[in-house]
Symmetry: none
């Protein structure tokens, strides 16, 4: 069972609207074991829509089309579909009555003649009810002359809400039924700290493209994510195989994995604190990240349970005045140095027994780099009742990337501290 998703609309090819329908439909299809061969997008051009439908019907079992069935002159999907099917458009009386009733209800007793076209569908096709709008959907079947090619075509509105309702009620049951079973289950494991190629090296053969479950990596914002997709005939088999593959991935990646699926670093840290017996209080002291670490920690609702204050000490005077970092220490080592980061973390913690201070001092650039401390040099320190540790990193990228990676690395150091383990990289 293979599907193609076709989106129609000038607003899409002009880039004025990001196509979220295709991703949503893909997720729905994957969940019932229907492979998506591809997405296609064309503008409001009848010939382009015809060509896209024509080429797709030979390559998939189900074609999901959204957009281009509104009431105006630039809505041309139904005309294109009729041309491909070589059938005339016919008025569907039932939907016409529904449309007229709809307009009476919203206080427009005379319907615009433009809306009449919304009740037209190719001969031989069936109308799909739209419970949320005026554009009826179309359920059609394409058959090649020799009957060898058969493709079911669903035409739905481009408005996400209307499309989703229609898909779930009408197209999805057909896909599930015709698909005869295969189920795709997915799991995503998130890591932070190593580059994509090193994560892939650790995974080794697990990433062989011929395997099922199949394992792949993607990277976003420095987070390297490992995707595991299991496609099997039964839900039970898919579940078992996915669990096995996940276990193998986790065993080679170890503590590098900080979470799965919708987990984020701040959320995982919050869960760790929540699960720990002694509920430490986190305090931040930031120089180059300028508040970003505190912002990330407080992204999590309820973070007031473990975060009560943060210091943004951008200048040397602020480091001395707010955190008690000796001016002499800064003079001696420079503000971007492990000794200063250690003193910042200790100053933020201020001796509180159950407190953890985290400090970041670095050169986010673009200026300020030197040969011995290039742009991207960042010192991060963590102080707790167990002592204070510091590490120096060199992050690649621009100011925004360096600041982002610094805050994420600080959260990672906190995560390892809460695990009671040394950071393994």
């Amino acid at each position: 069972m293979r599907a193609i998703i076709l989106s129609v609309g000038d607003e899409l090819v002009l880039g004025q609207t990001v196509d979220t329908n295709s991703a949503w439909l893909s997720q729905q299809l994957a969940a019932v074991g229907c492979a998506v061969a591809g997405h296609l997008t064309v503008g409001d051009d009848q010939r382009a829509i015809e060509q896209a439908i024509e080429e797709s019907v030979g390559r998939c079992d189900v074609l999901l089309v959204s957009g281009g069935i509104g009431p105006t002159d630039d809505d041309l999907t139904r005309q294109a579909l009729a041309a491909v099917l070589r059938e005339p458009l016919e008025l569907n009386e039932k939907w016409l009555h529904r449309l007229e009733a709809f307009f009476r209800k919203v206080g427009r007793p005379t319907m615009s003649p433009l809306n009449r076209v919304q009740a037209m569908i190719p001969r031989g096709a069936a109308m799909i009810e739209n419970t949320a709008g005026t554009a009826a959907g179309i359920d059609a079947s394409y058959r090649s002359g020799d009957q060898k090619t058969v493709c079911r075509i669903y035409v739905m509105p481009g408005v996400p809400k209307e499309m989703k309702l229609m898909f779930q009620r009408d197209a999805l049951p057909h896909v599930q039924h015709a698909g005869g079973g295969a189920v795709i289950l997915s799991r995503i494991l998130h890591t932070f700290g190593l580059g994509e190629s090193l994560v892939a090296e650790k995974l080794g053969d697990l990433m062989d493209r011929r395997r099922n479950p199949i394992v792949g990596t993607t990277v976003s914002g420095g987070i390297v994510s490992v995707r595991i997709n299991a496609k099997f005939q039964t839900m039970e088999e898919a579940r078992r195989q996915l669990a096995d593959a996940e276990l193998m991935c986790r065993s080679v990646l170890g503590d590098l994995v900080f979470g799965q699926d919708d987990d984020t670093l701040p959320l995982v840290v919050a869960q760790q604190i929540d699960a720990s017996g002694d509920q430490p209080l986190i305090t931040t002291a930031e120089s180059c990240t300028g508040g970003l670490l505190a912002k990330m920690l407080t992204d999590v609702p309820g973070s007031s349970a473990y975060f009560d204050r943060g210091f943004v000490t951008y200048s040397n005077e602020a480091k001395t005045g707010m955190l008690g970092v000796p001016a002499e220490l800064i003079r001696q080592h420079g503000a971007v140095s492990e000794p200063v980061a250690l003193a910042m973390a200790e100053g933020a913690r201020a001796g509180g027994d159950n407190m953890i201070g985290i400090a970041i001092s670095g050169i986010a650039g673009p200026g300020g780099g030197t040969p011995s401390k290039p742009v991207g040099t960042v010192c991060i320190a963590l102080s707790s009742r167990d002592g204070t540790i510091g590490r120096t990193f060199i992050f690649p990228g621009d100011r925004e990337m360096i600041r982002d990676r610094s805050a994420k690395m600080a959260l990672t150091m906190l995560r390892f501290h809460l695990l009671g383990k040394e950071m393994s990289f």
Copy 2:
């Protein structure tokens, strides 16, 4: 001049990632008068990528491919391109050296052998430099046997930031040059504070779709942007018409416009301070935004000239201990109240003559709302030698939106203070 945009990645056809690259590229192409014939998306499957490239090259003058050039086994775009071009992949020594230097710089003297493939490009193609990552792009030309079909192909990373840099520096100038003909010039004016429909109301007839220059609005992150596109036969005419239309838009929007094109709120505030004679020092005191305002202020390189410290006072104790807000005041009015926000701003300013303190206290949710102070209630105060002012806002949306709008509104209050004007909305 026609383009097709091809996106490659299992995460796209599985619906795990929404494809934002295609919309962004389409916008860029539209702005220089290049029509986009369509978008295509396929998974990490070499045969599917080959087929997509093969079919596209006959239908467009430029094919923009993103994704599938990472270092791992599921990155197959370069192999597919080489197959379509019928050329072998060759090692590009220059990029190999760059890769090795990159890994040395970040402290990994031995590069993973997996990364070596990232320096491979089809024979006859040119490498495109990647200033933000390890995947070099590929600039190739497809020619059919009879030389009738010629299509320029640019392969770029799927990571939006790397793709955008590469497109703007390498592909866009080619498209602009090859496109010839009409000139499209654009200006974008950014506003913050009023909703899109109110901005559109102010613009009135200027937004008539039959006009040239054409004026439209878009909204992103609460910033309502007014886009003016002038399409004329000569650069001179386009420039003159654009300037006239911009003047008309600015005259109806007034101080609501904070900047244009690449301007951001923090950047504009930085420029205002830089242009002012007396170089005030900004200090922040944040509760619900948890450091986001300080983070935004320090997004700007060189912000240390006017920002030296910030206080994240998430708990009541922090407000009292770090800013000297009387505990009694908090008890009396609640932490989210104008009196407390005023006291926070004054505490942050700490009487410094040329200092400005900005404070934010609000309910970001999802919990914590009451009938009289619902989620989204945010008090913002600004203290300077001219006195202290406060305002209460109710922002819509979720936790992330409320925090973002709060910080942007604080920057907007600062912008109006630096203008020496009352906020007009």
